[in-house]
Symmetry: C2
Subunit: 76 residues, 2 copies
Amino acid sequence: MDIRLRFGRNVKALRKATGLSQDEFADRASIHRTYMSGIERGKRAPTIIVVEQLALALGVQPGALFADDNSPPDQA
Amino acid sequence: MDIRLRFGRNVKALRKATGLSQDEFADRASIHRTYMSGIERGKRAPTIIVVEQLALALGVQPGALFADDNSPPDQA
């Protein structure tokens, strides 16, 4: 799966788990709402700076946003 | 620690473990040598596309490149 899609799906799933709407979460993470929408849809390739902003706002480690159901993030 | 520094140190440590020089590894990962140097020194903020390229060339999961000694990547 395209890394942008995998990343976006993880962000979306974790964001939904917080109970926040996409716009509310974008505001909390200090990310533009349109850009946030593009990230969740796998249309954007954020830099690691944005990856960290998202992880902090979600309360997870940055690596968790790259998790693949078929291979845990801590497995090589 | 700045996410760029943490990321760069992880890439450098994993690249050294492969036994490849920075230039050899840059060529293998299809990343410009100057850009590769900047990544390892924590001067660059690569996109998740580049994160995936690096992880593939290193044979690790993308999340492993964000690992922090003080908090495993699979821990929130």
